[in-house]
């Protein structure tokens, strides 16, 4: 199938095409899925280089499973998120919990800007706050609010019930709000700013 014609082809069909020897299908899948896999891994690990390794590993597992993929059983993206979750869990177990203070600050000193946080600073603050959450809460919040996954999809990824997902997400957001409020105080912001 020509590469241009693959933009509307579902992930599952592309995977089957790849398994049948269509390399263009692999390219289309890679372009579609790698940013999502990398984004999720980066948020879980807070380390870009390590997240790239996880992304490569997860995609490798996808290429390997392609010949045995059974359509209709699971979405490729859901399967990949689960693989990334497990890979990140393994890596996080091998290192100590990252303290909020140790997470990268904006490098160029723009944190001292008082009139509201710009988008990049907010993103950095979010990553730092996410790093303080318990792992499962972090996974649920990232999947729901940054990756745009639905609660049933998250339930499949984390292999828990939809109710448990809702509970995890709610607790995660509460903890995130507290962590961000603490960070704003540390940076000298007031509640009525930004």
């Amino acid at each position: 199938m020509p590469f241009d014609a693959m933009s509307d082809t579902p992930d599952e069909a592309l995977l089957v095409l790849y398994a049948n020897g269509d390399f263009a299908a692999a390219q289309a899948l890679m372009l579609r899925l790698t940013p999502r896999v990398l984004g999720y891994a980066t948020r879980l690990l807070n380390d870009h280089a390590e997240a790239e390794d996880v992304a490569q590993d997860a995609m490798m597992r996808l290429w390997k499973v392609a010949p045995e993929w059974r359509q209709g059983e699971a979405k490729v993206s859901t399967w990949l998120y689960r693989v990334v979750s497990n890979l990140c869990t393994d890596r996080l177990r091998k290192r100590r919990t990252v303290a909020l203070e140790s997470v990268a600050e904006p490098e160029d000193g723009r944190a001292s800007v008082v009139q509201g946080m710009i988008e990049q600073e907010r993103a950095v603050a979010l990553d730092a706050a996410l790093a303080t959450l318990p792992e499962r809460q972090r996974q649920a919040v990232v999947l729901r609010h940054l990756e745009g996954a639905t609660n049933p999809e998250i339930a499949q990824v984390l292999e828990i019930s939809v109710e448990a997902v809702e509970s995890l997400t709610a607790r995660g957001k509460r903890a995130l709000t507290v962590a961000l409020a603490d960070r704003r105080k540390d940076l000298g912001y007031h509640d009525d700013q930004g």
């Binding site: 790849y18 940013p35 490569q56 907010r122 957001k173 709000t177 930004g194």
Partner: protein, 121 residues
């Protein structure tokens, strides 16, 4: 308990987070595609083995070493026929050297009786 205002504030952070999604590096893309190519190789292999099977004659030629061997055998056969019809002059000399003059002549003149009959008619 979290107020509605605080929840809206959190959404602004999520929006910023979505906008700052990391972009895969060229190196990562290259590594992933190399993996995809490597994993695809075993799947292509069966199509190579599904080429048309050679026929019986081709199999026989292949068994004796292919066309070069066949050409050598044909040349050897033609030379053998030629030697049989026109005895090269050097063959006498070689036979004399190896077996002695008398034996050589004996060996070469295989049917002297036939020769006499032929002369007498």
């Amino acid at each position: 308990m979290m107020t509605k205002d605080k929840d809206i504030g959190l959404e602004a952070y999520f929006e910023a987070g979505r906008a700052a999604t990391p972009v895969p590096s060229a190196d990562l893309i290259g590594r992933i595609m190399a993996d995809a190519q490597a994993q695809m190789a075993p799947a292509i292999a069966p199509t190579e083995t599904s080429a048309p099977r050679p026929g019986l004659f081709a199999s026989l030629i292949e068994a004796i070493g292919g066309w070069p061997t066949l050409a050598g055998m044909a040349t050897a056969g033609i030379v053998g026929v030629w030697v049989g019809f026109s005895q090269p002059a050097g063959l006498d000399m070689v036979a004399e050297q190896l077996l002695g003059a008398e034996d050589a002549r004996y060996l070469v003149d295989l049917l002297p009786a036939f020769s006499a009959d032929f002369e007498e008619g």
